[in-house]
Symmetry: C2
Subunit: 156 residues, 2 copies
């Protein structure tokens, strides 16, 4: 709990003040790193969905936990530092869909980001315990957290 609270604090801080964890990174690379993080998370969400929700692949707790570790680690990596207004309209691997509202609604961004980190941490916890139904339920919460950002700050 203490750890979760700390992670939330770090996440919020990273978004609020753009903690300088990195040396200079170009806007193109910021978008590339963002897209890479989300795409790699998508692969891991897909594995958990196949195993815990769809049942198209047998449930394997070790694999689900490894996938949840990836999602939590990426969620806690301080990606806020990759969001600069200079990245609007920029092309990384492909053109970013980030909307200008991201830089205009900081309270909303903070709320959405903190919830995303919280749900990712919770998924890591239930995946470590290994109850398939709990994993499926928490994956649904994580999906809602992802969607909240897409609905508010990503072009369709």
């Amino acid at each position: 709990m203490k750890k979760a609270m700390f992670s939330l604090a770090v996440g919020a801080l990273a978004l609020a003040v753009g903690v300088a964890a990195q040396a200079q990174v170009t806007a193109e690379d910021m978008v590339k790193f963002r897209q890479s993080g989300y795409t790699f998370m998508a692969w891991n969400v897909g594995k958990i969905k196949a195993q815990a929700v769809d049942g198209s692949v047998p449930f394997n707790q070790e694999q689900v936990a490894a996938a949840a570790n990836v999602i939590a680690a990426i969620a806690n990596s301080g990606m806020g530092a990759l969001y600069s207004p200079a990245t609007l309209g920029e092309t990384g691997w492909k053109e970013t869909r980030l909307l200008p509202e991201f830089f205009e609604e900081q309270d909303k961004v903070r709320e959405v980001a903190m919830n995303f980190v919280q749900q990712a941490n919770a998924l890591q916890e239930v995946a470590a315990m290994g109850d398939q139904a709990e994993v499926a339920a928490q994956l649904d919460e994580l999906s809602k957290a992802c969607k909240a950002c897409h609905d508010n700050f990503r072009a369709e």
Copy 2:
């Protein structure tokens, strides 16, 4: 069947547990996921290098640990499942540089992959302890592990 047998083979190669973790993934997406994982690791390696080696950014143990967690989580995510001969010459975000030798030298691949996971796990451990010099030394070991794969299995 051929595909299923191959999945078992790569699972063993990459220290995965030996069964397909994912539902069907296209060759294009396999390459995209691989490139995303390595690119996101590169961002995190860059942060650790800036803070622990170059000193261009002040050393921050929490940020370094978070970056090392990402690298270890990705290293342990079973990326072997993303290596199919069908991906040779395939374009994900960009054309893959993977060489055919990857599928012909399984012992070497296993050795390189195991060392990569081992060095990533060691980096996560020293980053959690927070000694800057130890982090720098272990990052160097990780870099050598990355280079071993590039030198053997990636086109220049």
